[in-house]
Symmetry: C2
Subunit: 332 residues, 2 copies
């Protein structure tokens, strides 16, 4: 890699003159600037970013810690994060916790040595289940800004970007009750132990309760078993006329298996799930979704974090990204 020193030597001028010339300082003569820039171009000079980082004490890198990236919600958020980061001249270092507390902890520690200017994260499942968050407050105490999205820790005060999980499921459930006259609405979940899962279940329960109906909740731990369990449940409870899925996958599985058990969607059974941009392509008929604007969540997270980084006396914020109910063909 070409350095300032090499350029200076070749041109028989000092390093600082070269530096100033390349930064278009008014102190330098046009003639010198021209000579310097020409040689720099010729030798394909690029300022060494590591040196700049050391000098300015800023990396222009955001650490992004995600539970997983094979879940399309997080993949889409990552897309939003990357896009917005690039726009703002930031790079992102991505770590996957694989839902593990240990790995999340390790990543935060390893990057808290000047590697990044701040973090964007969604908390790992295990961290939420075990209610451990000391590793996160450590980072914040260390004066490195942290922003949480989607899965957040209420007790930690930091920037947050979330959706109104309670309200969205409340609305969806109410829609099924009032607009579609459904009375036997099953909630299907494989994320009941997450903060967002609890909020969504609460939204369902409240709507059911307000309508004087009876809540029915099917908690499924393994994604591999969803089809079998739903199949059995509906066999045992054939009166079921609607399903609310509070994650991004169980609703799709339910629709795709419905015909097996003799239910026509949406005539006999309405299904609403959580989803993102391409979810609706994966079921036939198309699933109706509570649309989390995953890309926007990523984008807004970056913007809020960068605002934090650039502002002297930043006020912590919680942004609630609106959700919309996007009807497909799985509702009447």
């Amino acid at each position: 890699m070409t350095t300032l020193k090499e350029l200076a030597k070749l041109l028989n001028i000092s390093v600082s003159t070269v530096s100033k010339a390349l930064n278009d300082s008014h102190e330098i003569s046009e003639n010198t600037k021209k000579r310097v820039i020409e040689l720099a171009d010729k030798l394909n000079y690029k300022p060494n970013r590591i040196a700049q980082q050391l000098k300015t004490n800023k990396t222009k890198i955001i650490g992004v810690i995600l539970p997983t990236v094979t879940n399309p919600f997080f993949a889409q958020v990552l897309h939003g994060i990357e896009t917005s980061a690039t726009t703002n001249n930031y790079d992102i270092i991505v770590c996957l916790s694989d839902e593990s507390l240990e790995k999340e902890k390790r990543s935060l520690e390893l990057l808290s040595n000047g590697s990044v200017d701040g973090f964007i994260m969604a908390v790992a499942r295990e961290s939420q289940v075990k209610e451990q968050s000391g590793h996160i407050t450590d980072v914040i105490d260390n004066k490195i800004p942290v922003l949480m999205f989607d899965r957040v820790v209420n007790e930690i005060s930091c920037d947050k970007v979330i959706v109104d999980d309670f309200q969205s499921v409340y609305d969806a459930t109410e829609y099924l009750i009032k607009k579609e006259s459904r009375e036997h609405i099953l909630l299907v979940s494989n994320i009941e132990e997450l903060s967002v899962g609890k909020l969504r279940i609460n939204g369902y329960q409240k709507a059911i309760e307000n309508a004087g109906l009876k809540p029915k909740i099917l908690k499924l731990s393994k994604v591999e078993n969803v089809e079998a369990h739903v199949y059995q449940y509906i066999g045992d409870h054939p009166e079921t006329d609607a399903i609310v899925s509070i994650d991004h996958i169980t609703g799709i599985i339910a629709i795709n298996m419905a015909k097996k058990i003799g239910k026509t969607v949406p005539k006999d059974l309405s299904v609403i799930g959580f989803g993102y941009e391409h979810t609706q392509l994966l079921s036939s008929p198309k699933i109706s979704i509570i649309h989390q604007k995953a890309f926007d969540i990523g984008k807004m997270s970056v913007e809020l974090l960068i605002d934090h980084l650039n502002t002297e006396d930043h006020q912590l914020q919680t942004i609630i990204v609106p959700i919309d109910l996007k009807l497909g063909e799985s509702t009447k």
Copy 2:
């Protein structure tokens, strides 16, 4: 952030003594080491990574440039990359080209200033269509190792990790012909302009030709139109008894819409698509897949690149990751 200098001042010893003590040098007395380590722990000292990077001229960061991450194949590869990188004490900076030549170019340029030790990339769709790759050779000429996976540029000599796209589709097609006695096999594609797409189509054509059958290829540009086009094609060609999808999505859509047109899978229609770990959950009946071991591709890419980085006289390699045909319920 605590620095060596601060520790030295507080302990009334020199910076170099502190440095040596923390690196457990034999030159330093046990007593001093103890004092230093105690204070360092107390103040939560961590060596500044940027300074170390400047000193050693190594970042221990790999630049990862992906076309997209919402395609689950790339998401899964990324998972493999991240896992293996972490194991080897590397971090990854992730850039998404969004299939755009310009963005790919920009990312490569921006990171070629010492930000990363090497690159892992899959070429953007636009770069492949326009057959542009000068921006990639520039990087390599600059002595920064580049590894390509999946979508590669044949003309560039660098490390590569690929699957045998030709053979895998050849085998799948032959399976349908010989084991399932299918005779009207439709190939569905939305990636025919990619290097891998061409290879896969060739595999199909060769198998069809060897069996004396007639190739039928349906090229679909927009993922939104797949269902409608397949529907129409089968309406016009009701003799169709099998579908080979050479991407990860059109096969799923075909299965989920088959019943609409009165075809029972797999009695009347077999479907084989490309897939990865969780693909089979998304269709009912479960799709049969040509299983690309995406995680392994990511893992092996990291290992090969790191080997390149650590080896003085590295020999460029092309690793072919084996594929297996993973039967679901969409074949007889």
